[in-house]
Amino acid sequence: MALIELRSVSKAYRKGRAEVWALVAIDLSVSERGMVAIVGPSGSGKSSLLHLVGAMDRPSSGEVEVAGQALAALPENALAGFRLRTIGFVFQSFNLIPNLSALENVMLPMEFAGVASNGRQKRAEALLARLGLEARASHRPAELSGGEQQRTAIARALANDPPLVLADEPTGNLDSKTGEMIYELLSEVALERTVLVVTHAEALARRASRVVHIQDGRLSGNG
């Protein structure tokens, strides 16, 4: 059964008076589990695609269905609930909350989900330990290296055990060695859920179980 279904999805943005089509009539189906890499040059529409799947934006036309949920029908508040339960985000710039410790950052999505304080601390500690960050749990993002920050962000993405992790250029701000470690981690994560990753990095794309090429808003190769 497909976890992600995109049917004839288009997305247009206004740039002044002009209308720019970021995505044009995309059809895509992604199954449960495994890593799918969306690869394409800058401005090709890969991030737009990720945002639509992640319910961070709405399509201009077409249907987006994730985990059996048609997103077009959901109001904003319901979309927040959907993201909370279904999606884990990993951003290029890590996007950790600066004045919270690594542990608190990981606990945050569980707080939104209503997990009791004890339960979320235990799970956050376990996730950080799994990612080799147990000694850095009390540190704030500014006190962590780039790799540590991204690992913390991955732990946060897994906090509510979502079926889908979306990663937008997860190694874009990391050196190659650290990037390699992040690829490794995401590959591990993809063993038990779907990871949709937008990347320029060929090395990461090679680790993916499936690579989707995108150019000028259209899928050019759907492997």
């Binding site: 961070m56 909350i97 600066p98 004045n99 919270l100 999505p109």
Partner: protein
Amino acid sequence: MVALGFRNAGRSVPRLVAVTLLIGAGFFLMLVMHAIGRAVEAHTAALQRSVDATLQVRAAGSMGHVNMVAQSDILPPEALDKVKAIPYVEKVETYLLAMTPTEGHNFAMVVGVNPGDTKRLESHGEAGTGRIIAGRDLTAADRGKRVGVMGQGFARWAGIHPDKLPAELILDLTRTHPVIFALDRPAAKLSIVGVYASGYVFGDMQLFMPLDTFREIYGVPRGLSWLYVKADSAANVASVERAIRAALGEQADIIAPATVAEFQTTTTRSVLRLTAAGMALSALLLAVIVYFVMLLVVRQRAWEIGTLKAIGAPNGSIAAAFLAEAFAYGLAGSALGLALFLGFGAPLAKQAFGLAVGPFIPAQYKDTLLDVLSVSAGLDAAQLALVVAVVALVSLAGSAHGLAHIVRLSPLQAMRQE
């Protein structure tokens, strides 16, 4: 998220300091205005306590003394019931008065009252009430009996010694005086059961007897010399006065205590309005400060708001964090404002009173009121509650626009705003 909001307030120390100073100044101003308002209220309450809220009603153009030349008209019998029916009238005391000559051109007052009512000395009670120094006061059991209580001066003139009570007093109603005419009534024998002292010469020259006894002795079966009408509060004196005038028309003269009512209408109300306006302006200033700070915070943290939304934060949680941050600024500022108020509130309140309130109050109070007022820079539970309520209110009002902005944004819009 509320805890995160409080922590967010400390993220930028320069901002926290600047906002605390601004909010602190606003709170200081508000507390000063509140202190002035409270001082004026306390002053008014003290005036109300010290001044009798009682009006005197007597027949128009007459002193109401039954044997006084050209002053012997008394109130008609129905006046009492009309006055008793007036709203805010708490009590009506009835008096009948006559005069009796003493030495030379001097005279004493003879007063009929209901036992238990106030025995006012002198014409308007300005000598207060007497204190029994020998014997006893009149009681309800004395109604209709030929008994009386007299001042020590009158007793001395009549040859009655306070140590020898009860004593007999003969009232000769035929004796005259340049202002007293003779009444064709038999002399009355009274048993003096008590002597009082007032510390006031003319106040000690009075004789009180039960009202019924007075009627019998002086032959006044109906009507009354004076009514003492007590309003339920000084604030209602003016209303009661108007109602009496409407009820009795030209039949009566009314002597009302104007001091408190005048002070209340001209000064207390003005000061309270000004201080309330000052407090409202301070609260508005605080809300404007919070508004701009929170707008800046929302703009600076758009990326963070977007992230929180992306990871599933409901709008309510994000709003709670921003509200908590605004509340934290408000608390920090109010703490500074309270500290400033405790340290410098009293002297600066007087300065503020002179500058902000002084020009708006009547000249007769302008120079003296500030000396009389006791402006306190103390804190009580009501003030603390006021501060907390204002902090909550301005946090909410000041953050409302920013919060509405946050709620409207999608995660992506928020991230792209930065």
